[in-house]
């Protein structure tokens, strides 16, 4: 029978199906970080259990870490305690840790692919909802809670109910100034923040196939923002070329063997999905969000919907509450609105290609004097590459502040926060109330759109800057 890519990988990892219940799903790789793992370590210790397969777990510190002066002790005592606890737990249980100061340290969803740990056909979990990022390599990758982290520690398995499958086909060439972040923001705006709940999504079509691995990761990363359990893309030559030669990539005869398996990972022609959506790439414009969930987004030159035009009472109330928080008016345009901060970073958009895109636009330009610009590479290796390519000079000359690897201002957990009431154009993934700091107002956009605002100090249609280049 014709199978979807999802079915092929899922079936290959089911240890046992509980009658009328979930499946015991085997996990190939487990990433952990300092925030969602301590209680799981405590849990197995309380049960007197060892880690079942410690070599299949990889750790890093990212959420809590400062992004300046990482060589100094962490000032926030609670953050320090959590990071220290991770070091202690990893030592005690034999888990490889790429902690602060390690050349491989970085945001967990940046380092996994970058080190070649993430490979097609795998099942990957992490106590972090953006684990869906790894799906760009043709994996089943999804976020789990801490109880499930403990399950993986104890058994290398989780109990999961098989989700439904959805395919989103995107066909055609992307218009000028439109990048992969715009594709995913467009999809979420179209189907809402809960539009894919209960589904595992496969992104397909000529537009997706033309994208680089880093661009594909941005799309899969935000699958969770429409409620999807995860997102995936069938691996192809672009995928294989990306992996080849990386530190943990298979080598020699093992490479040939794995490659032959990876080439079987695609949805069969007649495979049936529970839902299917078709999108024409030509319709997509640079996107921006105006509300407090990622589904409240629009084309950058659009107008915020009129609350009175919404018939569903719940949605109407939701929008009104979001606009009150954001300090925005129903029906208004965002173009030309001043912003005080630009944040370029996060597991969505902190890879070298994202930073190259930004550098290309800002080269020879300066940031607007009223804007603070933070640029935060996703990993130590990305930071090293930024330096090697001389992008750091372009950013410094533009007046951008380059910081060290970590989750940074994406989630208001470490020192990097946006002050209450101020606007930030952010390349991250969530515009929830208080996400970037209590009272902070987040406008999600692509690295290009963020860079454009850094230059002008206002919400800007990047196509105008490109056309005048």
């Amino acid at each position: 029978m014709a199978q979807t890519l999802f079915d092929k990988i899922w079936d290959a990892h089911v240890v046992e199906k509980i009658p009328n219940g979930p499946s015991v799903l085997y996990i190939d790789k487990h990433f952990i970080h300092e925030v969602t793992s301590p209680q799981a370590f405590k849990g197995i210790e309380k049960r007197g259990l060892p880690l079942f397969r410690p070599k299949q777990t990889i750790a890093t510190a990212d959420h809590n870490v400062p992004t300046l002066n990482q060589h100094l002790p962490i000032k926030d005592q609670l953050s320090k305690m959590q990071v220290d606890q991770l070091i202690e737990n990893c030592e005690k249980h034999g888990v490889e840790l790429y902690g602060l100061g390690h050349p491989y340290q970085g945001i967990v969803h940046v380092i996994g692919p970058e080190l070649g740990i993430t490979q097609p056909g795998m099942t990957i979990v992490c106590g972090d909802s953006h684990t869906s990022t790894h799906g760009a390599f043709g994996t089943i990758a999804f976020g789990i809670g801490t109880s499930e982290v403990e399950m993986v520690f104890a058994s290398q398995c989780v109990l999961q109910t098989k989700p439904k499958t959805m395919r989103i086909n995107i066909e055609g060439n992307l218009p000028n100034g439109v990048v992969s972040k715009d594709i995913i923001l467009y999809i979420i705006a179209k189907i809402s923040a809960s539009g894919a709940t209960g589904y595992f999504v496969e992104y397909a079509g000529s537009t997706i196939r033309s994208l680089s691995m880093e661009a594909r990761m941005t799309i899969c990363n935000m699958s969770i923002e429409m409620g999807a359990r995860g997102g995936m893309i069938a691996p192809d030559e672009i995928t294989f070329n990306y992996i080849k030669g990386r530190i943990y990539a298979p080598k020699g005869a093992d490479w040939d063997k794995q490659l032959a398996n990876w080439k079987k990972l695609y949805s069969d022609q007649d495979a049936i999905f529970d839902a299917e959506i078709n999108i024409n790439a030509a319709e997509i414009a640079p996107m921006i969000t105006y509300g407090t969930n990622p589904g409240l987004g629009m084309a950058i030159d659009g107008n915020i919907p009129l609350t009175e035009s919404i018939t569903n009472e719940g949605e109407k109330k939701n929008l009104a509450q979001a606009l009150t928080y954001m300090g925005l008016n129903s029906g208004a345009a965002l173009l030309g609105m001043p912003v005080q901060h630009v944040f370029i970073g996060s597991c969505t958009n902190s890879r070298i290609e994202d930073l190259r895109l930004v550098a290309e636009l800002v080269k020879g330009r300066k940031k607007h004097e009223s804007v603070k610009v933070m640029i935060v590479p996703g990993s130590q290796q990305v930071a090293k590459q930024v330096h090697a390519e001389g992008l750091d000079r372009i950013f410094s000359e533009a007046g951008f502040q380059i910081r060290q690897a970590g989750c940074s201002a994406c989630l208001g957990m470490n020192e990097d926060k946006i002050p209450a009431g101020e606007y930030c154009i952010s390349t991250s993934n969530r515009n929830f109330e208080g996400r970037q700091g209590a009272g902070a107002r987040t406008l999600l956009a692509s690295p290009l759109t963020a860079a454009a605002a850094a230059i002008t100090g206002v919400v800007t249609d990047v196509r105008e800057l490109i056309n005048h280049n």
Binding site: N20, R47, S147, G227
Partner: protein, 194 residues
Amino acid sequence: MQALQQIKSSFVPLPIENVDTDQIIPARFLKATTRDGFGKNLFRDWRYEQDDETKPKPDFVLNQRIFSGEILVAGKNFGCGSSREHAAWALLDYGFKAVVSSFFADIFKNNALNNGVLPVIVSDDFLQQIFALSATDTISIDVAAQTITIDATGAQASFELNPYKKTCLLNGYDDIDFLISRKTSIEQFELEKV
């Protein structure tokens, strides 16, 4: 995990859609290394002005004394966003045993069930019936029968619950005990896979 069989309680209405886990428990409170004590920061930024416990926001439902109970009733897509299980811990620590909504985000639903907090999915119509009740009305939830009843009107709805998860809830079993019992078949799977 604490067993959960029946709940009969008044409820706390939160008629807001897309309540994300950053609202349930903001990231700055995730620095603990234990599961305890998250309840005091539940809905922290909706509950207090300027992060100040001496300045409760009078309009927020947790600050309104007339509403109390073990059941939180919320708008659709409850628990979306971050996978932080701290959201389920915060609800449990505050005293909630069930959350009723017309739609839940997947990861939250799993996290809640893994902590003995029951997510009860009802129709939008039934949800509106609950929101229309007065603060003193009670709701009864029967896990074994998979029913939710508005005691004042007798209106009843059944809700979905995976039979395996139901057994776990009724008896306070957890998934880890189950998975450890499957160790031999997991080892066998590994041998065959390689």
